[in-house]
Symmetry: C2
Subunit: 556 residues, 2 copies
């Protein structure tokens, strides 16, 4: 492409070249392409600037709202992307970045992704995807079998059946959860007598016909925010997402769940769905799915399990028992770009019963016609890329055993890190790892001792200060760019449910070592001694000592 104004014909030819002439082997873009293939870690290390730049500075590079009139050279755009985008992106693959659910990618995913993109298939229909449709149906079958363990005959019958789908592949866990609850909602108010079903007549008439005042989705108060979003999208309203208290281990309280269902029933609110969580986003805990399944049956509610994070735990013979009961779920969400180690963004939902997806079946004249095997008839999305090819490749190249190792190693590493935190007098482990997620905070021994005996008012003062410190440490560590933990807010029972800000750690990157974890703690300790926060820290310690002295006096 040229910056000069060419004649019309020359412009047209230039445009054709864009589609037909590959980048020259020595072009900037080709060199990067090869560089990434040969040495991805090096490329990321070299090009991503470690120290965080101020966002307002970064925004200056993306401030022009006008689409350029004249084309710019590929090499110019490439250099721009390298200097201004890649440089200021996040090193999600770094083994010291343990705050994200996005981690390193297996090497083969890169060239395979290129094949996928080059083919540019669209999974909405067979006509634009051909073999990709049977492949995606197989992937759905494989995950279905991992969850539900039906026999071979079941999959021979249903996997490629044109009028059924064992699930839906989608852009991620949010759409997977939404799809599951869409199915649940439509099935809760089916066609009957003169009523043609919620899917046809809508929620207003459905509730009137069935004599309800509302419909609710129940989930623990640690449920993912996508469920509240789904309640909004589906027209139920955010109030319809009813949070149920959790126990000290961040698992839903089964008695409270049952009480809540009874209460809703008395209020003439339909218990439409009960959602179990297999791997809470913030603490990595798993609900008692078996007990939840019983309650769902009792109230004839759809039982959905959000296993976006924890689903792949099923690969591990050692830890799969944690998800016991998942096979009773009507639907299960899996995220592939999390612990299946597939690039962003692909997730899926599987349905226990092959007929379930029909509750959201749509057809059109030119595609997804009735009787076709087009997967687009039961997905929320329309056009979709061939990401299933990458899930398929992961399942085959890594295999059940490989995923087992990744899961087991992650959980082991989380336990190791938990021990390191517990043994270090400067830190407090806030939630123990059940899977590979834990939370902790900087909280010197003396402060921990004080908190154990402080009255409510004192504890709140200390925790408020600690919150500021945690926030500062997390932010500063991120800005320095060597390591990254994320942060969230929990309400630990031991602090009378006072909101506490904590570091959140996700140990899914196989390249993270104990040494790296030790370095992260060391850096946090170092930061705590720095001028920005040392004064606050001194105040907290003084406060703690006062509390301990008072206690001593009152006991003395």
């Amino acid at each position: 492409m040229t910056g000069k104004k060419p004649s019309a014909q020359a412009s047209i030819e230039a445009m054709y070249r864009v589609f037909t002439v590959p980048e020259a082997p020595d072009s900037t873009l080709s060199r990067i392409d090869q560089n990434i293939s040969r040495n991805l870690a090096g490329f990321l290390q070299e090009h991503i600037v470690a120290v965080e730049r101020d966002l307002s500075d970064v925004e200056k590079n993306f401030s022009d709202s006008a689409i350029p009139e004249k084309p710019v050279f590929v090499s110019e755009q490439t250099q721009f992307l390298l200097d201004k985008l890649v440089a200021d992106s996040v090193h999600t693959a770094s083994p010291a970045f343990i705050g994200h659910m996005t981690s390193a990618l297996p090497y083969f995913m890169l060239p395979l992704s290129k094949i996928m993109i080059a083919l540019n298939q669209n999974l909405v229909k067979i006509e634009t995807s051909k073999a990709f449709t049977p492949l995606e149906r197989q992937v759905l079958g494989m995950i279905h079998r991992l969850v539900y363990q039906q026999d071979g005959a079941f999959y021979r019958k249903w996997m490629h059946d044109p009028s059924h789908a064992l699930g839906a592949v989608c852009s991620g866990g949010t759409v997977a959860n939404l799809t599951a609850l869409w199915v649940a909602r439509n099935r809760a108010f089916p066609a009957e007598g003169s009523f043609r079903g919620l899917h046809q007549e809508g929620l207003f008439r459905a509730l009137k016909y069935y004599g309800y005042e509302g419909a609710a989705i129940l989930v623990s108060d640690r449920g993912h925010y996508s469920l509240r979003k789904a309640a909004d999208v589906l027209g139920l309203g955010r109030d319809a997402l009813v949070p149920v208290p959790t126990d000290d281990e961040n698992r839903i309280q089964i008695d409270a769940l049952r009480d809540k269902c009874l209460e809703l029933q008395r209020q003439k609110i339909k218990v439409m769905a009960i959602c179990g969580v297999a791997g809470t986003t913030e603490t990595g805990n798993v609900d008692n799915l078996d007990a939840m399944a019983d309650i769902a049956r009792e109230f004839r509610a759809h039982f959905h399990v959000d296993a976006a994070w924890g689903g792949p735990t099923l690969f591990s013979r050692t830890h799969q028992h944690l998800l016991r009961g998942i096979e009773q779920a009507d639907s299960v969400t899996f995220d592939a770009h999390k612990q299946l180690y597939v690039p962003m963004g692909v997730g899926l939902v599987v349905f226990k019963t092959p007929g379930l997806a029909s509750a959201v079946e749509h057809h059109a004249q030119y595609i997804i016609r009735k009787g076709s095997k087009d997967l687009g008839s039961t997905t929320l999305e329309g056009s979709r890329p061939g990401m299933s090819m990458l899930i398929h490749s992961g399942l085959r190249i890594i295999g059940r055993e490989g995923y087992e190792i990744l899961i087991d190693e992650g959980i082991n590493k989380a336990r190791t890190f938990a021990e390191m935190i517990t043994e270090d007098a400067d830190f407090e482990l806030v939630t123990k790892p059940e899977l590979n997620i834990l939370t902790y905070r900087y909280c010197p021994a003396v402060v921990q001792q004080a908190l154990a005996v402080a009255n409510k008012r004192q504890a709140e003062r200390i925790n408020t200060s600690l919150n500021r410190i945690t926030k500062y440490l997390q932010k500063t560590q991120r800005e320095r760019g060597k390591a990254f933990v994320s942060r969230t807010r929990l309400e630990p029972a031991r602090y009378t449910h006072f909101p506490c800000i904590v570091f959140r750690v996700v140990l899914a990157n196989p390249l993270t070592t104990p040494d790296i974890l030790m370095d992260i703690l060391d850096e946090q300790k170092e930061l705590a001694r720095e001028s920005g926060i040392a004064e606050e820290m001194a105040i907290v310690k003084e406060l703690a000592e006062t509390v301990l002295k008072e206690k001593e006096t009152s006991e003395g």
Copy 2:
């Protein structure tokens, strides 16, 4: 990876290698990677089998529902993908495949995609996307400006404003339309007095509070099926998608639209949204957006324009007038994987007013906190890939002028093809191209003449036969693999709205030449003479001759 059972430590090491050791330069996968970079067209030509294999045969390659216990070699999986997946995929980039909305990709998109995948950013929040968030905000600004043409001050104020978003990037047009209608629905029933808004209390209470019996979305009967799906998802029910008749040019009848609005008003049904179509999926026509905007204002309805296909027509100084009135829309859907020539799947919706997206704003404790610039707070999806980088690159490398050429050439080519069809005695042009889409069918001159004078019963008989012929020709041509047109069903006014199956052609691939178009017609003529359909053809012609003779007699 090895197929043998290794010791635990060896397994762990093998697993680490998968993440750290790139494919060897001479590995099958690396060779394909390089091959695609050097010669994509050749790779596709060589590896995609032209002749269509029976789907049940293809399914045999994807029939195992068990996840392999042991890992398979990368090279083995690569070979499998080449032989069983790539071979039986669809050559969407072929210039003779003019039935899809998916076409060829500019070459630079491939290496850029690899950078995007290697970076593995997640746009839900700044913490996992950093510079990608300002970049995506810029892309939203650029498309917003293309549509709404606000001044520089507007974009300086809003583009990077933390509590606003000018739109939402998503996986495609379906989610874009859904997002727009989600916003429309929530804004139609806002918080007021004791009512906390539909988003909070749900549709049931919203309708009760505001005293409505329902809420409706109006669109022409050529509207995309995703709108009906959205009506279902949003809890309105499919009935809430009210189709309005179109004129002979497949454009919504403005009087009928107004009448329908008045009728709904009388029925106490809230006119929640009116959707204009800028490029109908089947025929590529554009509604009279200006007139629709007036009606939307009259009924205080949200005015949405689905420009998934036709949006980029705004790049063309010659044709942008077709979309006049789009700047009055409250929201506009654009698909990037269609006429922005970005890989599958990315689309977006832009909102006229920066405050609109707040109707669907969600927050959580650990991400998308209030006041953050995280784009995830107003998207339907959660985790999302950095596809905006590819839109950004397209807009810069192709530029306004480049996209103009692509649009103009597509429309010119469609006109050329329409002429070729009209001039050929064997074909009937069913819908003329307004943009770059047209429909036609195989219908010899004598049959066309007969249809012009036939009575309703006769016409139906002829059209029923022609439908079978069109279906056969389309299917057979696709199976032979040299060329592809799609098919759909229209109800042309000139055939008293009898459902007619037609070939549908989309001319978006810049590599499609008039010679290729001629070959497609020739092959169809050839197929029509083959034994499979020649008899049916003979019957139609006989029927036509009888009709013409009768007419002659009655007039004689």
